[in-house]
């Protein structure tokens, strides 16, 4: 195992659960407000004011949930793997907690992306499901999330569960490009899909600006839920330490 490389001081500070708890406590309200604002603005704009799609009518509006959740699910996996790697190499507790919190969030997002996609698919493609490259790799991503989540919960010992989850998500990271590549190749070989999810529809600004707002809003919302989960995790694991006791008594 790598001996600790020298890292900047803030990096180690981040590793202290207490510092992390305090800093997220300060950041939380800001993020929460921004998330709420962006989501409301984006949703109202996207759902009520953006123009109708000339082909799909109003059904396209589901894009405002679908794309953010799909994009975020992938980022979430990367975050989980990076946090896992950090916790493995530098034995940083907080990174471990972040990684643990990512798995259920990511799985939820993946389910959301799949569900909205399926709902969207019914009117546009006339079917709930197509074995298209995008869809398939999203499904596999969901499987990976569920795998990490199950492993976390199958191991009783917190620390070992974290390490095991980290090893698995790292292995998954190596595999994700391979999966993406293979699925795409496989699909282009067999199926000439009439609908390409990959191609960005030439959207008017009125359509994509709310989409962008929604995406950013989703990210902020994700940050909020991640912080909340991580904070709960910190309290749970550090409950015997002095500062948590003080905190509880202060309540």
């Amino acid at each position: 195992m790598a001996k600790s490389w020298k890292m900047p001081k803030w990096f180690y500070q981040l590793g202290s659960p207490r510092w992390c708890y305090e800093i997220t406590g300060k950041l939380l309200p800001g993020f929460a407000i921004v998330a709420a604002l962006l989501l409301v603005v984006g949703a109202v704009w996207g759902l009520a004011f953006a123009p109708e799609d000339y082909q799909q009518g109003n059904s396209f509006r589901i894009i405002y949930v679908h794309v953010p959740s799909a994009v975020l699910a992938q980022s979430c996996y990367m975050l989980m793997a990076v946090a896992g790697a950090i916790s493995l190499i530098w034995k940083m507790k907080v990174a471990d907690m972040v990684a643990k919190s990512c798995a259920p969030l990511g799985a939820t997002l993946a389910v959301l992306a799949l569900a909205t996609g399926a709902i969207w698919g019914k009117p546009t493609w006339g079917t709930w499901w197509v074995w298209d490259a995008r869809l398939t790799s999203m499904l596999i991503l969901l499987f990976l999330f569920i795998g990490v989540y199950s492993l976390h919960h199958a191991i009783d010992n917190e620390i070992n569960a974290g390490k095991a989850g980290a090893v698995l998500s790292l292995v998954g990271v190596v595999n994700i490009p391979i999966i993406k590549y293979s699925v795409e190749w496989w699909n282009t070989l067999h199926q000439t899909s009439t609908f390409k999810v990959t191609e960005k529809p030439a959207m008017p600004a009125d359509m994509w600006i709310p989409l962008l707002i929604m995406v950013i809003g989703f990210y902020c919302f994700f940050a909020v839920s991640l912080m909340l989960r991580t904070r709960a995790e910190i309290l749970e694991r550090e409950k015997r330490s002095g500062w948590v006791r003080d905190l509880v008594e202060a309540r």
Binding site: L88, I140, F143, L144, I146, G147, S150, L151, A154, I155, D156, N157, N160, K163, A164, V167, L168, L170, V171, G172, V174, N175, I178, I179, Y181, S182, V183, W185, W186, L189
Partner: protein, 232 residues
């Protein structure tokens, strides 16, 4: 104090561990035929459950054989470290000063020799049973030959991570199957390409590359997984 560990060369440790695992497999040689029978039976169930028509079967043969090989490997994976864990041999392996990744690699090689290799050898029989076009046959064999070791290697990661858990058998499936998908896609891709007269070099090259990557990286992940599982 650590000179003697240099004495026993790493290759020797590898061979002895390989030999031990092959011996273990040989002692329980009735179990050896089981993955093969599973393999055969999935290929039998399929015509029974779906459709026995030759034209239909010959289209799907490559996929069915590959899926069957994948499931057979998966099924046999759980036992890779379980008995070592249960009887304490695994602890002794971890306490050995020899590189754990090396011992792991030896075990995986032994596992493949008694599961993936026989599957590959048996595959043409299945191909015939499912009316696989003759041109696809050699592609089937080569793709399995390059693909099944990767399946064993990836499966070993799942086995290592779940060995400490009671009832790991099904969880391992969950962890490992998503990682198997590229191998499956390139494997069947090769056979289908061959059946339609296309070149298969590209597919085999990719399968080979994945295997090479796997041989280098997975033993490390497996070793890490084992240390985690035992320290539980």
């Amino acid at each position: 104090m650590s000179e003697p560990s240099v004495d026993i060369s790493l290759t020797r440790v590898f061979w002895i561990t390989l030999r031990r695992d092959l011996l273990l497999a040989y002692r329980r040689r009735n179990d050896l035929i089981s993955p093969l029978m599973f393999f055969l039976m999935v290929a039998t169930l399929f015509p029974l459950g779906v459709s026995p028509e030759p034209e239909f079967l010959s289209q799907v043969a490559a996929g069915v054989v590959w899926v069957a090989a994948l499931l057979a490997t998966l099924l046999s994976m759980d036992s890779l470290f379980r008995s070592d864990f249960d009887d304490g041999s695994l602890e002794q392996m971890l306490l050995s000063p020899q590189p754990l990744a090396l011992l792991v690699l030896a075990k995986v090689v032994a596992h493949w020799t008694v599961s993936g290799l026989p599957l590959t050898i048996l595959a043409p029989l299945l191909g015939v049973m499912l009316y696989l076009p003759g041109e696809g046959m050699s592609a089937l064999i080569f793709s399995l030959l390059l693909g099944t070791p990767t399946l064993s290697l990836i499966g070993a990661i799942g086995a290592a991570l779940t060995v400490g858990l009671r009832k790991g058998g099904v969880l391992i499936t969950l962890l490992v199957l998503p990682l198997y998908i590229p191998v499956l896609i390139f494997g069947t891709g090769a056979v289908q390409a061959a059946s339609t007269g296309l070149p298969i070099g590209g597919y085999l090259a990719i399968l080979g590359a994945i295997l090479a990557l796997g041989v280098v990286l997975t033993p490390l992940a497996v070793a890490a997984g084992l240390r985690i599982s035992v320290s539980n």
